[in-house]
């Protein structure tokens, strides 16, 4: 038998014509800890979904060879039965059930449908020992910290005779102690002969734990770095992660004249009372008139939380700090206050909390500023149709008419409707959260062009983006966030993918 427990050979996976994975080769040795790194969207999660059978055999090209045999997983249970277990970033636990119920859900110790609870509790105690978790199995999962919850997931995976354990960003939500614990556990499991694959954005951890590290970029395997040869270094990883040129997909803006600071956030902190965690720490940012400020960082860095807390939507956060808009200190109690002060926020999740999918384009565009087209509370429908048609034309929204339901539009056109809705509010400061997520290159270019023309009209834009290329291509100034903090501020001229990545993975 070969030294590899897993060989993924020439894997190609397409989503409606777009190649998410392109002839990817990925080999994992038996008994090693192998890290998989790459930017957001590089294809790491897709590759793991191919491996675990989320994308069944036949929907991808290439071969998966596990323990010397070609595997054809048609469902997730097939890979589980073979000994592959994945632990996702979003934990799949039931918070209102106890630890032992969670450990055995779907795998109950039973006879004729009746569960033997005392046996279950006994067995779960042994499972918890295996992951060095010293808690009462009768505790509710919701009463545990995220780190302990993660260990329960691992314990659950180990109970199924696992040979290959895959962890998707396991430490993203953990504090340092918990992360340290987790890495320790992985090393112990390695001694017991269990192979692990860990996806991680935190390069320090990768360097600390990896035997080998494979770098993916844009759906291609770039290289596999070997720690025993001293190849796993921060520089080597970052260089391979980002090493692409920014092509001319970002329209240029000639005139740049920045005015006064229009938005200034200082000593801004937020504490999430629901999960009991500090999510924003002492943030100081500002935006000038006519400027595009990029906020870079990896998922979970706190960028959306920052934007939403500025926009007067603190959810369950307790927010402290000062916010100065156009020279006046403000405290927003409601999103409507922020809108009145000239701020608009285009959400990252346009289907979830951005658009009204069951309403038509017209209703979606006018909803934020009905006052403008209403006389004493009565809407002038003709004026509304006119406005909606103007935005449809200006933003080149492709639809037969403004009476088309927004739910039936493509992602790019939905994003334009979302943008149109906020432009009609006529803000001075536009916060764009992942403005081009999930839309095609052509529509992206159109959105960038719109952004540039808005800037020329004197608007200011804050752009949150996980795409480094976009941040570099569009911003005048860039803040890099990680773990709820601003880790650095870079001018467009001095920023490059390497130094952003370095700050974001601190």
């Amino acid at each position: 038998m070969s030294e590899y427990i897993l060989e993924m050979d020439q894997i190609t996976k397409e989503f409606s014509g777009v190649k998410a994975l392109h002839n990817v080769n990925f080999k994992v040795k038996k008994g090693e800890i192998h890290c998989l790194v790459g930017e957001n969207g590089a294809g790491k999660s897709t590759l793991m979904k191919v491996l675990s059978g989320v994308y069944p055999y036949g929907t991808y090209e290439g071969n998966i060879i596990f323990e010397g045999n070609i595997q054809q997983f048609t469902k997730i249970n097939d890979s589980v039965d073979t000994g592959i277990a994945i632990i996702y970033q979003e934990l799949a636990l039931f918070p209102d059930l106890s630890v032992y119920e969670n450990l055995f859900v779907g795998n109950e110790i039973q006879s004729k449908g009746v569960v033997d609870w005392s046996e279950t509790i006994q067995a779960s105690k042994k499972m918890l020992e295996k992951v060095n978790l010293n808690i009462n199995p009768e505790t509710m999962v919701k009463d545990l910290g995220v780190g302990q919850q993660q260990l329960i997931e691992i314990a659950k995976a180990l109970s199924k005779d696992v040979k290959l354990l895959i962890l998707d960003e396991p430490t993203a939500a953990l504090n340092e102690d918990d992360s340290e614990n987790l890495l320790k556990l992985l090393r112990e499991l390695k001694k017991q002969g269990i192979t692990s694959i860990m996806i991680s954005h935190k390069l320090k951890e990768v360097i600390a734990i990896a035997d080998n590290a494979t770098v993916l970029r844009d759906g291609n395997t770039i290289c596999t770095l070997d720690a025993s040869k001293g190849e796993v270094t921060e520089n080597a990883i970052i260089k391979n992660m980002v090493g692409r040129e920014i092509s001319d997909i970002y329209p240029k803006r000639d005139k740049k004249n920045f005015g006064d600071k229009i938005l200034e956030v200082s000593n801004w902190s937020a504490y999430d009372t629901q999960i009991g965690k500090q999510i924003l720490k002492n943030i100081n940012v500002n935006v000038r008139k006519g400027e595009i400020v990029g906020i870079a960082g990896l998922m979970g860095a706190g960028r959306t939380e920052l934007a939403q807390s500025i926009f007067g939507n603190p959810k369950s956060y307790k927010v402290e700090g000062t916010l100065i808009v156009d020279g006046v200190e403000r405290k927003f109690r409601h999103t409507s206050d922020a809108i009145k002060a000239g701020i608009a926020y285009v959400t990252e999740d346009r289907k979830g909390d951005g658009l009204f999918l069951a309403q038509d384009i017209k209703d979606n565009i006018s909803i934020g500023n009905l006052k403008e087209i209403a006389v004493s509370g009565v809407i002038n429908e003709n004026e509304e149709i006119k406005v909606a048609n103007e935005y449809k034309k200006d933003l080149t929204i492709k639809a037969p008419s403004i009476e088309q339901l927004v739910g039936n539009l493509s992602g790019g056109n939905q994003q334009k409707v979302s943008l149109g809705k906020w432009l009609f509010v006529k803000p001075n400061i536009l916060i764009l959260d992942e403005p081009t997520r999930g839309i095609d290159v052509g529509a992206k270019f159109e959105i960038y062009t719109i952004m540039n023309s808005l800037i020329e009209e004197g608007m200011s834009i804050i752009m949150i983006s996980s795409e480094l290329g976009e941040v570099l291509g569009m911003s005048d100034r860039i803040y890099v966030m990680a773990e709820g903090e601003i880790k650095g501020e870079l001018l467009a001229e001095e920023a490059n993918q390497e130094n952003i990545m370095q700050l974001a993975t601190q």
């Binding site: 959400t347 009204f356 509370g377």
Partner: protein, 391 residues
Amino acid sequence: MSFFTELKSLLKNNIRDYGMYIALFVIMLIFTILTDGLFLSSRNISNLLDSAGYIAVLAVGVMIVIVIRHIDLSIGFLAGFLGAIAAILLMETGLPVYLVIPIILIIGMIIGLSTGFLVANLGIPSFVATLAGWLIFRGALLLVTGDSGTLIIQDEAFNAIGNGYIPSIAQIGGLHLLSLLVGLFGILFFIYSSISKRKKMKSYNFEVVSKPIFILQLVFVSAIMGYITWILAGYNGLSWTLVIILLVVIVYHFITTKTVIGRHVYAVGSNPEAAHLSGINVKKITLLVFGSMGFLAALSGILFTSRLQAATPTAGTLFELDAIAAAYVGGVSSAGGVGKVTGAIIGAIVMATLTNGMNLLGVGISYQYMIRGGVLVLAVIFDVMTRKRAA
């Protein structure tokens, strides 16, 4: 585009809106044939519309509650309770009608706002909050009617609301003149507003339907309005109940379709998170909708009590479910954001038509319930199917 292809595409694109009208028409046609025309007699139609009144008013209110993804189960007994309070104020306290009615409406609104407070501010699921209301108002109704059981109302003005008709200035060939005039005025107003709307749209260079289709629409709607007026004028004319329903429809239709508040209501129903991020005060809208529900429940209570000319301990029983059924037959969606005032009214009329027609035919009460249940399911299936096709 030729006349017929345009007509066809218009029907096809608006099948969900027209479906209900077509269904109502078919049901009425069937009953007319089966009863040898008795169903369509002046007296029967007049009765039918009057008996639909108190449910129709509730259906409008609860339709809007469902649009914002909530429910109100308390409205039946709330109507019954407030009706009883009205009777007590009239007969035992001796307050005049013109004071009793606004007092009851205001109490209804305040109770609705309190329910809204529970739902919007305290985050209690509306099903539970209004189920509690259902119990409380049922108990309250029993309490206030407890001593006498049934409280007879001897106030002509109050009883006229549910049983009276607008005065006739003169009879022309046995027809009720004022009703004819009201109908005529309605038709003229409809034609005038349609033409002016079309003109305005043209001035904005918007697409309008072709002239023949436009004229067809005018003639068709005017003919229906004219026919209904003619039928009603042949009996006692317009009833006060019908006048009240028409007012409720006009006001609520206007608010839901033409005003900023109405648009905000649909936005909250369609996507509460997006509505909040669009600067809409979701709590305020929720309060408002429950407030309006309480107001309409009070109105329904007044209509029903006046129609019976008495307050009874069982008044309001199952009204809420009849109203909810009417709203669903009228095309409201429990997924939120979709529903029309006209739909709720037509839904209420469809349900009342079924009851009335089956009574005329002597269909047993057990079958009546089953048939109405079947119609409810069919209406919702139709709605789901057309929605799928549109998506």
